[in-house]
Amino acid sequence: MNKNEQPILSVRGLKQYFKSGFGRNKLIVKAVDDISFDIYRGEVFSLVGESGCGKTTTGRTIIKLYEPTDGEIFFLGRRIAAGTLSLKEEIKRIKAETKEKLRAITDETEKAKIKEESEKRIAELKAEIEQRKIDTKREDRELMKKMQMIFQDPVASLNPRMVVKEIIAEGLRIAGEKNDVVITKRVNEMLNTVGLLPEHATRYPHEFSGGQRQRIGVARALATSPEFIIADEPVSALDVSIRAQVINLLNDLRDNFGITILFVAHDLSLVKYFSDRIAVMYYGKIVEMADKNELFNNPLHPYTRSLLSAVPLPDPYYERKRVRIPYNPSVHDYRVDKPSFREIKPGHFVYANDEEFERYKKELKD
């Protein structure tokens, strides 16, 4: 992996809040809270964490199923979605500040100067908000067809009233392909790639087994020849014996087509096997991000350690000795010393405050 190369996807300060209720019952759920990462061409980047930590939301926001609350998402160098919360807050802050300043000053000419300055700044921010809104709303099919998603549940994600050919061709049709001969050829090609037969094209999803259905899902994602695939727990709904088929298939896609994959999962042994870099999420934040071997050998954040210690392995002897490390979020004292996401070693990031950062550094040296 070449770090100097431009990332295929970069996420900057992404926030995704969900609001519910009104007035007193108003509740804001911070599903994703200020995360940033880059994904480089040809790599498999994994998001792991417990359910409800926001990993699926991250994937869905990237593919524009949600509009981000704040932060920016760049895909192939273009901004595809951006939120406006921080800009709006900035405007509010500037307005309040100028009010404060104006009250203190009596000189008329100076007052006019300050007013003009703040108005200029606000106008700039407003223009940026408009631009971001346009970027988010724009439907750039040429660009977006390079990004596809594989869903968790192979039963629920395939339309039961469409035959396999229609399912796979849907993306192509939306991307503007009208020639039926081309579509049929492409569908057969895709079925072939995922290890199904051309005669399967006229069947309905219910006629397939779980593993085959998930392969149809993969074929649908591949039809528009994407460069980037978001795989949202693609195997967790499958049986053990079938799981290996789908993982091998995804592995082949990466090796043969050079597809970049964002892999969302909670099964750590699978993540270790399949991915290059791993980010661990906890309650909407990425707490640690590193190369897979680095993360498994030198976990720093207590949550990562707890997560790694909880993985059961098919080895009875190891299991008898395994000690689970419980994680208690109250070990962090973030009242004064505010935490941030920082690089502790080339390629190894951790969410910590100054004091913890120093401690982790020392641990890393030992």
Binding site: S241, L270, P312, P316
Partner: protein, 481 residues
């Protein structure tokens, strides 16, 4: 671990369960036999549709209406659970054999407070006077109910046989069978009549006895209270005496709550007094599973069946729940049947492992034997299809081609032969019997037959097991130092 001289708690022999459907009979379980020893955990592993849940449901007696136990025995405390009546099963289900289900959300009632759900069973089962009546007339009643059950079983078995014979088109045999069943039915009907008459005679006598006892108890309580009042005892003492009288009659709400809070503390629910009044949606997934475990534990069973209790949970929560089950098992000396498809969990929990495929146990042995010395090709495939933490993505995972067989038409011979690259010609024709590897380790595969060609397990698995062994040796050396 020496399991041979421990007491057998539950013994399943040649259990066969089928489901009646429009398409025909689905043979879900085809002759499963195993023993559950006291204080051990037996893990049953297999993919979905292998019959692991069905066999556990058969043990609990909660099979769906269209299920038929064709043959086989489930022996618990010298009783055959497949033969005893629903009435009799009430004494066992929950009280002796408890069960934890997969999805903790759907096994709790969303509009009922947690406390009520935990105490519900205690209150319903706690009508002491009614229970006493049942006890007193137990024998004639059981005779009556059992004969009715016998009749039902006879008819069910008869239906299956007829269906089989019709398929083969043997008309004479059908007629013969019909006549045979007719005479049997006449006999059974006669016996039912007799049992009913006997029961009717006994009930009034028992009722009278209970009434007298209750009157005596009331009188005693009255006298006690009188004495207490004369002594000038505190009010609390009088209240307690009244409560005691009530408790003679039934499990009071107060008593049930005390017991529920105790169990809730035992399963690690913080602040149980507050939690007692909350609804399921106010609990997280792990906490909900703890509640389900608490409900199973209130009646103090000695066998606990866990049907994929952690599949719906996260790794960290899963680890907590597994620890909890292990702790409770040790504290209460429970025997646990643990059903799962996660081999990591099996390695953690089990003392012995049974691997199921297409309604049959294909390999059974202690956990070390299954993980370090597997013999059946299906076990090989299962173990090697999992990535382990040392594996590299350059190394392809072995996978099992094809799909499990359709159990409407169970295959001839070895059910796994279709997907097995080691399959021999005999696998497609004859079902393999169990071959003994050690006293505790059996596998049903023709590869173990003395005449079979020498076959080695897949290279990837061999390497992995060698790796695990090496690690242990290294660690042991370190420990000794």
């Amino acid at each position: 671990m020496n399991t041979t001289n421990r007491r057998v708690k539950l013994s399943v022999r040649d259990l066969t369960v089928s489901f009646r459907t429009i398409q025909g009979y689905v043979r879900a379980v085809r002759g499963v036999s195993f023993d559950l020893y006291e204080g051990e955990t037996l893990a049953i592993v297999g993919e979905s549709g292998s019959g692991k849940s069905v066999s556990s449901k058969a043990i609990m007696g909660i099979l769906e209406g269209n299920a038929i136990i064709e043959k086989g025995k489930i022996i618990y405390e010298n009783q055959d659970l497949t033969k005893i009546s629903e009435e009799n099963f009430h004494l066992i289900r929950g009280k002796k054999i408890g069960m934890i289900f997969q999805d903790p959300l759907s096994s709790l009632n969303p509009i009922m407070r947690i406390g009520k759900q935990i105490t519900e069973a205690m209150l319903i089962n706690g009508k002491h006077l009614k229970n006493r009546l049942k006890e007193l007339v137990h024998e004639p009643r059981m005779k009556y109910v059992n004969t009715i059950q016998e009749k039902k079983d006879l008819i069910n078995r008869y239906k299956i046989k007829i269906a089989d014979l019709k398929k083969e088109g043997k008309k004479e045999e059908i007629a013969e069978l019909k006549a045979q069943v007719k005479t049997q039915l006449i006999d059974i009907n006669q016996r039912i009549k007799e049992a009913k008459a006997e029961l009717k005679k006994q009930i009034p006598m028992a009722k009278k006895k209970i009434k007298d006892d209750w009157k005596n108890e009331k009188l005693k309580a009255k006298e006690d209270i009188k004495a207490l009042k004369e002594q000038g005892a505190p009010r609390q003492a009088i209240r307690d005496r009244k409560e005691q009288l009530r408790r003679y009659k039934c499990v009071t709400k107060k008593e049930a709550k005390e017991r529920a809070l105790k169990v809730m503390r035992e399963v690690g629910i913080p602040d149980p007094e507050k939690r007692f009044r909350q609804y399921p949606f106010q609990f997280s997934g792990g906490m909900r599973q703890r509640i389900v475990i608490a409900i199973a534990l209130t009646l103090d069973p000695d066998i606990l069946i866990c049907d994929e209790p952690t599949t719906a949970l996260d790794v960290t929560i899963q680890a907590q729940i597994l620890e909890l089950i292990n702790r409770i098992k040790a504290e209460r000396n429970l025997s646990v049947i643990f059903i799962t498809h996660d081999l990591g969990v099996v390695a953690n929990m089990a003392d012995r492992v049974a691997v199921m495929y297409a309604g049959k146990i294909v390999e059974i042995g202690t956990v070390e034997e299954i993980f370090y010395d597997p013999r059946h090709p299906y076990t090989w495939a299962l173990l090697s299809s999992m990535p382990d933490l040392d594996a590299d993505s350059k190394e392809r995972l072995l996978y099992i081609p094809g799909t499990p067989p359709n159990m409407l038409f169970p295959p001839k011979g070895d059910a796994f032969a279709e997907r097995n690259k080691y399959a021999m010609r005999i696998d497609f024709e004859l079902e393999p019997p169990f071959f003994k590897v050690t006293d505790t380790h059996y596998a049903a595969t023709w590869l173990l037959h003395p005449d079979a060609p020498k076959t080695e397990m897949p290279e990837i698995l061999k390497k992995r097991i060698a790796n695990m062994r090496n690690k242990h040796v290294l660690e042991e050396v370190k420990d000794n130092e």
